[in-house]
């Protein structure tokens, strides 16, 4: 039983790493800053959640598990806030999203 839970945890950790790489590829290949922020922040929080869950399953309950949860809470708190601030700043300084439909270049109000 414990062995099986350990393997489930390992699969989750690998999934987290896979998500991380997918996010990095997205950041590298997406066309503008907003899509890149999107790729990075979603995969970062997702990878953090999967990694936390995986490591918790593998290592079992200990004081380290509590710290792991604290790390997770901090990432969930700071990563979206940073992404939001970044996107807001990029928009404020005049970068406009690259749109597939070029009809409405400046329809948006801050």
């Amino acid at each position: 039983m414990a062995e099986a839970i350990g393997w489930i945890g390992a699969v989750l950790v690998i999934a987290a790493v896979g998500l991380s790489i997918a996010g990095a590829v997205g950041v590298l290949r997406f066309p503008d800053v907003y899509t890149r922020i999107h790729a990075a922040s979603i995969t970062d929080t997702g990878a953090a959640s999967l990694m936390t869950l995986g490591l918790l399953l593998m290592a079992g309950f200990s004081p380290a598990a509590i710290k792991l949860c604290i790390v997770w809470v901090f990432i969930m708190l700071t990563s979206p806030a940073a992404a939001h601030a970044l996107a807001g700043a990029a928009f404020g300084s005049g970068h406009r999203p690259v749109l597939a439909d070029p009809r409405q270049p400046s329809e948006d109000e801050a």
Partner: protein, 358 residues
């Protein structure tokens, strides 16, 4: 657990891989042509360096590198870079060859000693086999603290650390002498212009409001926990300064200066160093040597206290109180000095401000 644990060989390979990433960042730094990119790279360099230090079994150093290198250094660099041009002009090729040859010669000279250096990870190498091992063996009997790094830093080499703290304080004084007297141009940007960046989005404000108290609390945890795990006064001080810097970043330096006036910060910096030295003199007054924590408590009083768990039959309450006291001094000195430096670079503290506050 066995699923997770890496073999000793794998650990060495990890650290070699990470060091490669660090070196790659240095190469990128060599090529960078913009100051802000350089600062970004420096921040990433420090982060990776701290990760590498984790693989080298140096969590205390990793802690420091993460909080100092990636945090405070980046802020100070940004503060200084704001006032200068961003583009780095390239050097004329004629000027390049002499430094390049000199650095190459230095590299070759250093590489020539590699065959004489101990093998990577060798447990019997001269640095690891004698004095380091002695500290590891003696710490439970002498100090009673599980963290040998803290024991060496705060107790065995406490005098040295007092010197380091004084150097940090002196550096802070130097920065204030260079920049502190400057009067800031009054309100360069009207407030509504700067607020427009995040107007209508309280996300940052709420996140900062949530985080700042937690960071402060965490700094004190790091201070108190330094005896038992990674951490200590230096790290706690930098984390405390980071909380103040976050406050200044989100709510503006003026608000932070209202909450924590410049004069108070400067006084605290001096107080930290003085408190450290005072612990040393207290030991002398009790009949011991300078910074001899065992002399802090009288034996009669100490015998009444409960025995600490990792002490191996000894009490060590004097050591523990002494270490906590000087670490508090270090934290106060480091946090205030870093905050004062940040104030000096961003706020350009005026003389009247400082005089009015103190």
């Amino acid at each position: 657990m066995s699923l997770l644990l890496a073999s000793p060989e794998l650990e060495l390979v990890f650290s070699a891989l990470l060091l490669t990433l660090v070196a790659g960042l240095v190469v990128a730094l060599l090529a960078a042509r913009s100051v802000l990119t350089c600062i970004l790279l420096m921040s990433a360099f420090s982060l990776t360096m701290a990760l590498w230090l984790m693989t080298m079994d140096a969590p205390d150093v990793a802690f420091t590198e993460a909080s100092v290198g990636a945090g405070v250094s980046t802020m100070i660099l940004l503060g200084a870079a704001l006032s200068s041009t961003d583009v780095i002009p390239s050097l004329r090729p004629g000027r390049l060859w002499f430094p390049a040859v000199a650095c190459l010669a230095a590299f070759i000279g250093m590489a020539l000693i590699v065959p004489d250096l101990p093998v990577f990870g060798d447990p019997g190498s001269p640095p690891s086999a004698y004095v380091g091992r002695l500290y590891l063996e003696q710490t439970p009997h002498d100090i009673g603290a599980p963290n040998v790094v803290t024991a060496v830093l705060a107790s065995y080499r406490g005098f040295d650390t007092l010197g380091e703290t004084t150097v940090i304080f002196a550096a802070g004084v130097g920065v204030l002498l260079l920049l502190g007297g400057q009067v800031r141009s009054p309100d360069a940007a009207p407030e509504d212009v700067s607020l427009r960046a995040s107007a209508g989005s309280p996300v940052l404000s709420v996140a900062a409001r949530l985080l700042i108290p937690i960071i402060c609390l965490y700094a004190f945890y790091v201070l108190a926990h330094g005896e038992f795990g990674a951490g200590g006064g230096f790290q706690a001080g930098v984390i405390l300064a980071a909380a103040l810097i976050l406050h200044a970043l989100v709510f503006g330096v003026r608000e932070t200066m209202k909450a924590l006036p410049v004069g108070v910060v400067r006084a605290c910096a001096a107080l930290g160093v003085l408190g450290y030295a005072a612990v040393g003199f207290l030991a002398i007054l009790n009949g011991g040597r300078f910074l001899d924590y065992d002399a802090l408590l009288s034996p009669v009083f100490e015998a009444g206290l409960p025995s600490s768990h990792l002490a191996g039959g000894h009490h060590h309450w004097g050591q523990r109180i002494g270490i906590l006291a000087i670490e508090t001094g270090v934290m106060l000195a480091v946090a205030s000095t870093m905050t004062a430096i940040f104030y000096a670079f961003t706020g350009r503290v005026s003389r009247s401000d400082a005089a009015g506050a103190s």
